[in-house]
Symmetry: D2
Subunit: 345 residues, 4 copies
C-alpha cells in the first residue's frame, strides 16, 4: 500500500506519520505541503529525525493519484473539497480527516460551517467512516469521511443504547472534556500554555459544530431522524484525550449487568472497543492507542443510563481511525499497525 | 475576632490560614492538631514561613472555646461530630468544613457515609451554609455546615432555575470536573502525579456522596422534595478549580437574555456570584478567589437550559465560603478578607 | 499614593493590578493602554471583574504625571525609553519593569538588545532596583530599573558568595528553569499548550540577554568587573516560578553551617529572603509571593558551593519587586501590600 | 527470543511490556510478581487490555531460567542481587534495570546505597550497559547492569568531551530536570499531584546516588579515575523525560562547528544518538523513544562548553536501553523493536 498525505503541519498529519511508521503493509510515498515543498520532513518535524527520509512535495492531485493507493487529507475545512474529484478520478481511495464530507446534506454543512459546499454529489456519496457502526459501507467506499473526535466518542457510547431502544432519545445530553491538541497546532490565546494550565475552559456551546455530526451519525445508524441533542465541550489542561459523558432517561427496567452485557455483545466484532465492567474509564489508558473504552452504567435512583467513553483524540479521534478505515477498505487486518499498548504513565 | 482551626494538615485548613492572613477583622488564635503539637506552623507548612508565628496546640475543645469566638473544623468526617457539643457549650460558633452536619436527616448521612451519626440533634439544628441561598439562617446560626465543593457549584447553578420554575426537575443532569486538590492531601495511586497528568479520570459515579447533598440543598431551598438527580464527577489534571455543567429540559418559552437577566436579578445581593452574559466560564478566572462565575445558556434546538458554573474548590468550595459564613454570622462585611482578584496566569 | 500603569495587556501589568488591589497605601489611579482606550479593565481582564472599576485611558505622559505619584511601565523594550523623560519631568517616580534602563552602559544594551538607546543619560542615572543589594540607592531614585526575573533569582544567590570571597568568580555557572508565563502573554508555537505540556525546553543559550544583566548586577554590587558567567535558561511545563541553580568552586575551607549562617546574616534586613537550612527549595512555596527562598549548600567532594534559589517570576521577578521598590522609595513598609502567604497547593 | 520480567508493578516493568509488544524477535514468556501471582497482566495494567494474555507467575529463578533466554529485573535495589546467581547458573542472560550491579566496587555501592552487597564477584563481572560507550563488552556479557536514567543522559553528553581532552575535568557541573515518573509508581507526598503541578522541586543534592555512577561511568570509559563532579537533580511537573545540562571549562581553542562535528563523528555508529547542530533539545522530541538528543555548544565569552542532553527516562533511561542491551547482546539489530517516532504532541 502506497500512502499519500496532504497536510502534515497539523497534529493529525503528524500522527498519521507516527502511526504509519510501524504499519506492516503501508508505506508513506508522498507527503504534500503548500508551504514546505523541498524541505525534509524530519527537519520540520524533529520527532521523525532518523525515522523518515521523505521530502515535502507539492499538492499535486494527479501526481498523488499516480503514485498512491490511498490519500489522507488532514486539512482545514474547504481544502479536501477542492482536491477530492481529481484524486478520485485518478483512482485512489480518499480518506478525509477533515469535515468536508461528513454531512450527506450539504445544507447542514453550509449552515454549521458557514461555507458553500462545492461538491454536493461527493458529500452524498461519502461513507461516514465510523467503522464500528458502518463497517460494511466502508469496505466498498472510495471516499471516506473520517469522523470528528467528539462525535467518535459520543456515537460509540450512544449507538448501543439507541439500538436497544432502552433510552428516551429526547433526553440525550452529551458533555465532553478534551485535551488541547484537539484544537490544532496553531497558537492562539485560548491555547497559550500559561492560560491553559490549571484551567478548565467551557467553549463553543450551545451550538458546537460537532452537534449535528453526532445527530446525523445516530440518525444514519438508526435509519431514522433523531431529535436534537445537547452537546457541551470543555478544554482540560492536557494535550491528548477526550472523555465524553452521555446520559439519557431509561425507558425500561434493566439491571447494570444487562447494560454491560449488551454493550459487550454489540461490540463483539470491534477489536478497538473495550467495555469496562468494573472500573470507570480514564483517558490515560487509551493514550496513543486506537482504543475506545466504554463504561455503561445505570443510575437507578434517577432512572438514567450514563455511558462514559474515552479515546485519544488524535488516534481513534483522527489519524488512527483513518488508518482503521484504510485497513477495512483494503481488506487488511482491521488492527494492522494499530495494535499498540498505550503510553503510560 | 479570634479564630480557632482544627485540622490544618489538609488543604482546607491550609487555605483557611492563607485567607485569614489578610482578613482585616480576624486573627488566628489557636491552631489545633493531633500529630504536630508543639511544632511551628511555619515549619510544617513552608508557605507560611515569615507569615505566621503560631505553634500547633492540642485539640482541646474547652481551651479553644475559651480563647476563640469561632472555630473552623477542617477534618475527616466523624471528627467534628465528636467536638461539636463541647465547642458549642463553650459558646463559640462552629463552622464545620467537613460533611458531618450537612444532612438534617441523620439517616441520609448514615446511608451515604456508612457511619453512625452520634449528634442527630445538632445535625437537625445545623444551618447549611450556602450563604447565597440561606443568608438569613446563617446570620442566626451557632452551628454552620459548610457545603461541599461540588454541591456549592451545582446549587448556585440550579437554584435560580428551580426558583423560576422554568425547568423540569425530573431532567436535571450534573456533570463536574475537579482539580485534584479536592481529593485532599493524602497521596494515593489515583492522585500520583505521573498517573494524573495528561489524564481525565471518571470516578465515583453513579452514587457519589455529594449527590444527596445537592438534592437536599435544592429541596431545602424550594421547601419541597426534588426528584433524584444524576451527578458525575471527574478528575482533571490541575490542582484547583471545579467546573460544573448543569442541564435540564426547559418547560417554558424564554429567550437567552431572559435567563441572564433572571440570574443577575437572583444574585443581585450576592457579591461573590458573577453572571456572565457573553463569555463561557473558565476555572482560572476564579482561581484563588471566593467567586462563582455562572453562565446560563439556552440550547433552543434541544429545548434545554444549560448552566456552567466555576469555583475554586478550596475557596468558594471550602475555606473561603467558611470565612464568608463567619463574616455573615458576625455581621462583618460579607466580603471581608475575601475580596481578592484571582491568580492569573 | 496614586499609581499609574502603562501596559496591562501583559502578565506583569496584570500582576501589578492583582497585587495593588490589596495594597494598604496605594491606589491605582490611571491605567494606560494604546489599544483598549475606553474599555473597562474588568472586561478585558475577567479576573478583575468586581474588583476594579477602572477604564483604560490613553498613554499620555503628562496626564499620568499630573495624576500619579509613581508610574510603572510594563512594556516591551523600547517603549519606556520614549516615555521616561516626560514622566520624570512631570515629577513622578518611574519604575520600569522592562529592560530599557537596566544597563548603565548603553552600548551593552545596544549589543544585546539590537536597538539604539535613545536616553543614555537616563540609563546612567537609573538605579538597578534589586532592593536587597541596592536599598540605599533605591531610596533616593527617581528612575528605577526593575530587575529581570532570571537576574533577580541569580543575583540573590550569588551576591553573598561574591561578598564573602569564598568562591572563584571564574567558575560561576547559572542554570535556570522557568515557568512559561515568563515568556509573556503572546501566543507562539513554543508556548502552545500541546507543545509545552510534558516538555522541558532548552532555549536561548549561550547568549541569553539576561547574561550581561547578571554580570553587571554582580559587578555593580562588588564595585569591580566580574568575569563572564555561563547562563542557561529552560522552560518547564508550569505557568509561574523560577528555580535557579548557581554553582562555583569554593576557594576556602568552610562547613555547610558557615554557609547558611553567612546567608542568614547577609539577608537579615531583607524580609523577602528566606534562607533554608534544612530542606531544598521548590517554586510552589513562593508562588504568588514576593519571597525568594535560598538554599546554600556545600558539595564537599567536588569542593563546590551550590545555591538554589526560587522566586515567583511574576512577583519577586517582576511586579512584586516593582511594588517593593515603590515601598522603599516612598518610605512605606517594605512589605506593604506584599506580605501574603503563597498559593498552595 | 523468550523474555522473562521480574517486577512489572513499577513503571520500568510496564514500559518493558509496552516496548516488547512490538519487538519483532522477542516474546514475553514469563512475567513474575510476588504479590499478583495468578492475576491477569491486562487486568492489573489496563493499558495492556487486549494486548497481552499473560498471567503473573511466581518469582522462581529456575523456572524462569528454563523458559527464558533473557531475564530483565526491574526491581528495587537489593532484589536482583538475590536472584542473579541462580538465573545465571540457569544459563540466561540477566539485564538488571535496577542499581545492584552498576558499581564494580561493592564498597562504593555500600557507601551510597547503605546496604551490603551480597554478590561482589557478580558486581565485578557485570558490564555497564551504556551501549554507546561499552558496545563491545555488552556483546559478550551474561550480566548487564542497565545504567541509571540521569547517568545515561549525563554520560552521553560527557564522554565525547572527555575523550577529546577539550575540557578541564575538574570543572564538570551536571544539572538535571526530570519528570516525576523517574521517582517510581509509589505515591508519596512529594509526588502527589497537587504538590507537583506548577512546581519545580530541587531534591537529593548534594549527594544524590547517581553522582558516583556518573563518575564511575566516565572513569571506566577513560580508563582512569576522574575527579568528583557536582550533580543536582530537580523534579519538574511532567511525567516523562530528562533534560541534563553539562558544563565544563574549555581547555582548547575550538569553534562551535568543531564541537558539533566531533560529537557527530563520535556517535556515528550509534543510531539512537542524534546530534543537533541548529536547535536546542526538548524532551518532547524524544518522548516514548530510545533516542538521546545532544546539543554541544560553545559559550565563547565564558570559555566554557555546554552540552544539553535529553532522553525519555523510561525508555533510553530504563527499559528501552535494556532492550537495546538485549539486542546487542544477542546479535539482533540494535534498533529492533525500538525504532519508533516519539509521541507528539
Amino acid at each position: 500500500m502506497k500512502v499519500g498525505i496532504v497536510g502534515t503541519s497539523g497534529y493529525a498529519g503528524g500522527e498519521l506519520l507516527r502511526l504509519l511508521a510501524s504499519h506492516p503493509q503501508a508505506t508513506v510515498e508522498y507527503v504534500a505541503s503548500t508551504s514546505k515543498v523541498g524541505e525534509k520532513v524530519a527537519e520540520v518535524l524533529p520527532a521523525f529525525q532518523g525515522v523518515y527520509d521523505l521530502v515535502f512535495e507539492p499538492v499535486d492531485a494527479q501526481a498523488m493519484a499516480r503514485r498512491c493507493d490511498v490519500v489522507f487529507t488532514a486539512t482545514p475545512h474547504g481544502v479536501a473539497m477542492e482536491l477530492a474529484q481529481e484524486l478520485l478520478d485518478g483512482g485512489v481511495v480518499l480518506i478525509d480527516i477533515g469535515s468536508d464530507f461528513r454531512f450527506s446534506d450539504p445544507q447542514v454543512y453550509e449552515a454549521w460551517y458557514k461555507q458553500e459546499h462545492t461538491r454536493p454529489q461527493l458529500a452524498q456519496e461519502a461513507v461516514y467512516g465510523l467503522v464500528e457502526l458502518f463497517r460494511h459501507q466502508v469496505k466498498e467506499a472510495r471516499l471516506i469521511a473520517n469522523p470528528g473526535c467528539y462525535p467518535t466518542s459520543a456515537l460509540l457510547a450512544l449507538a448501543p443504547l439507541a439500538a436497544s431502544g432502552w433510552i428516551d432519545l429526547e433526553t440525550v445530553v452529551v458533555t465532553s472534556m478534551s485535551g488541547v491538541s484537539g484544537a490544532g497546532a496553531t497558537p492562539k490565546p485560548m491555547y497559550h500554555f500559561p492560560h491553559c494550565v490549571e484551567n478548565v475552559q467551557a467553549y463553543g456551546y450551545p451550538g458546537h459544530r460537532h452537534t449535528p455530526e453526532i445527530e446525523q451519525g445516530l440518525s444514519r445508524f438508526l435509519g431514522k431522524e433523531v431529535p436534537p441533542i445537547t452537546f457541551s465541550p470543555h478544554l482540560v489542561p492536557m494535550s491528548r484525550g477526550i472523555l465524553t459523558h452521555v446520559s439519557a432517561r431509561a425507558t425500561v427496567d434493566i439491571g447494570p449487568q444487562d447494560l454491560v452485557n449488551h454493550f459487550t455483545e454489540f461490540y463483539k466484532e470491534s477489536p478497538f472497543v473495550r467495555v469496562l465492567a468494573e472500573r470507570l474509564p480514564d483517558t490515560k489508558s487509551v493514550a496513543g492507542t486506537n482504543f475506545c473504552d466504554l463504561a455503561p452504567r445505570l443510575d437507578h435512583r434517577a432512572r438514567r443510563i450514563v455511558v462514559t467513553s474515552v479515546i485519544d483524540n488524535l488516534v481513534k479521534g483522527a489519524s488512527g481511525q483513518a488508518i482503521q478505515n484504510m485497513n477495512v477498505r483494503f481488506g487488511l487486518a482491521e488492527t494492522a499497525g494499530l495494535w499498540h499498548p498505550g503510553f503510560t504513565p
